[in-house]
């Protein structure tokens, strides 16, 4: 038998090569579009990305997001946005996009040396 790992959550599942992973286009086209979901946990906090879901339109995406991501008062406000409408920087840590801030240590307060005796600074 193929490798079976305990990490199937509610029980062991096989992880060998006989388990296919490649999606087929037919099923993908049938489904509703993918939405990314952002929740404001409470007043005073930013909206934070919590996951995604599929929904036919914006309104149903909000309703589904409420049922899926805020069953225990986890939020006071929800944003949904179609995944295809998000433009992202490359996630690579070596991304040149972030290089301009890499060598500007003088933007941080710790760059400046102040004698211990000076108060409130």
């Amino acid at each position: 038998m193929s490798e079976v790992t305990a990490e199937g959550g509610h029980g062991a599942i096989p992880t060998g090569p006989e388990v296919p992973v490649q999606p087929r286009a037919r099923a993908v086209q049938r489904d509703w579009p993918l939405y990314e979901v952002f929740v404001r946990g409470k007043r005073g906090l930013n909206h934070v990305h919590v996951g995604s879901l599929h929904a036919p339109d914006d309104e149903m995406a909000i309703d589904a997001a409420r049922d899926l991501y805020t069953r225990r008062n986890e939020g006071v406000s929800i944003w949904v946005v179609r995944a295809v409408d998000i433009t992202a920087s490359s996630p690579d840590e070596k991304d040149p996009l972030f290089a301009p801030s890499g060598d500007k240590v003088y933007r941080h307060p710790t760059f400046y040396e102040i004698p211990d005796g000076v108060p409130h600074i």
């Binding site: 038998m1 490798e3 079976v4 790992t5 305990a6 990490e7 199937g8 959550g9 509610h10 029980g11 062991a12 599942i13 096989p14 992880t15 090569p17 388990v19 296919p20 992973v21 999606p23 087929r24 099923a27 993908v28 049938r30 489904d31 509703w32 993918l34 990314e36 919590v50 996951g51 995604s52 879901l53 599929h54 036919p56 339109d57 149903m60 049922d67 899926l68 069953r71 225990r72 995944a83 295809v84 998000i86 433009t87 992202a88 920087s89 490359s90 996630p91 690579d92 840590e93 070596k94 991304d95 040149p96 996009l97």
Partner: protein, 324 residues
């Protein structure tokens, strides 16, 4: 998330050896891999199998207990069970969401489940003939799930780890409601106590099988552990579960159906008898008491509700055109 990426790199893309090095360094530093990071194909495929079939287990896992929604003995018990079953649907969807960040697709995964090309936990192929089964599933099955899900909160794959943190918070309610249900029945009549014991007798061994075959039959464990997508071996997790559960069984007043169960003072662990792996393989392969029924019901849910998917899509399109 399949968002387009800005490519403003002047140097072009790094070669595979460099990418592998960066990946290895991230893992070595116990930091998280995120969706559009480069990752080895084996890592991605193993994760898709793990996350997708974990999702399937949550979704199919609604059925054995769902059978008791209308028959639960009070409004309170119905409300609790409904909340629990709804959580399992949520767990499935968090996990499909994580699988999609790896290039999988929810509708396609559902097809693969229904066609039997991907599996789900064998535990859900056992029947739930008595109401005590609801309590025992919460106590033992969700208890075992907690054992293997808590370490997954530190999975090296970010979206999976984040989904598991959410799941684990909810899982503790599942186990406690089950245990409380059993405690209530144990304080009841002889008939109720017998019902609890019978359910424990039926679920104990399948619960131990939830951790999968022993380590010497799991040749890829080392690779999965090196990748940080498996944190403990199957046997370690099983032992942890037994050690946690035996005192809970004693407090409840039930007997675990294993004559070899004995405290080993030297190791500080409970020793237990041999597991029937033949049964595990048979049930996982599809020959359990309820496999056909579970899949048939999932297939019916997809096919009978296809018109809703189509109607909502048509409405959304019309609405979009009208607004433009």
């Amino acid at each position: 998330m399949s968002a387009p990426t800005l490519d403003r790199s002047a140097t072009g893309s790094p070669d595979e050896a460099t990418l592998q090095e960066q990946f290895d360094a991230t893992i070595a530093a116990d930091r998280r891999i995120e969706p559009r990071d480069w990752m080895p194909e084996g890592y991605r495929k193993t994760l898709v199998r793990q996350v997708a079939q974990h999702a399937h287990s949550e979704i199919i896992g609604m059925q054995p207990e769902g059978d008791w929604l209308l028959a639960a003995p009070s409004l309170r018990r119905k409300a609790v069970l409904l909340a629990k079953v709804q959580d399992e649907a949520g767990h499935g969807l968090y996990l499909y969401s994580a699988a999609e960040t790896l290039g999988a697709d929810r509708a396609d995964l559902t097809d693969k489940l229904i066609e039997g090309r991907q599996k789900y936990s064998s535990i859900f192929n056992y029947p739930t003939p008595a109401y005590a089964d609801v309590g025992v599933i919460g106590w033992l099955v969700d208890g075992a799930a907690i054992c293997n899900q808590v370490p997954l909160c530190r999975s090296s794959y970010g979206p999976y780890a984040r989904a598991m943190i959410r799941v684990c918070k909810e899982e503790s309610f599942h186990q406690r409601q089950g245990y409380e249900l059993l405690m209530t029945m144990m304080r009841g009549t002889d008939e109720q106590r017998a019902m609890v014991q019978d359910a424990v007798d039926r679920w104990w061994w399948p619960s131990l099988m939830m951790f999968g075959p022993p380590d010497d039959e799991s040749p890829n464990t080392a690779q999965s552990m090196a990748w940080g997508i498996k944190r403990h071996t199957n046997d370690e997790l099983r032992q942890r579960f037994v050690d946690m559960t035996v005192p809970q069984a004693q407090a409840l007043g039930v007997t675990l159906p294993d004559p070899d169960l004995a405290w080993d003072a030297d190791s500080g662990h409970w020793r237990f008898g041999a597991i029937d792996w033949e049964e595990f393989r048979r049930v996982l392969a599809g020959d359990g008491p309820k496999n056909a029924e579970r899949i048939a019901r999932r297939r019916a849910a997809r096919d009978d509700n296809a018109w809703v998917v189509e109607a909502a899509t048509a409405y959304a399109r019309k609405h979009e055109r009208g607004a433009a």
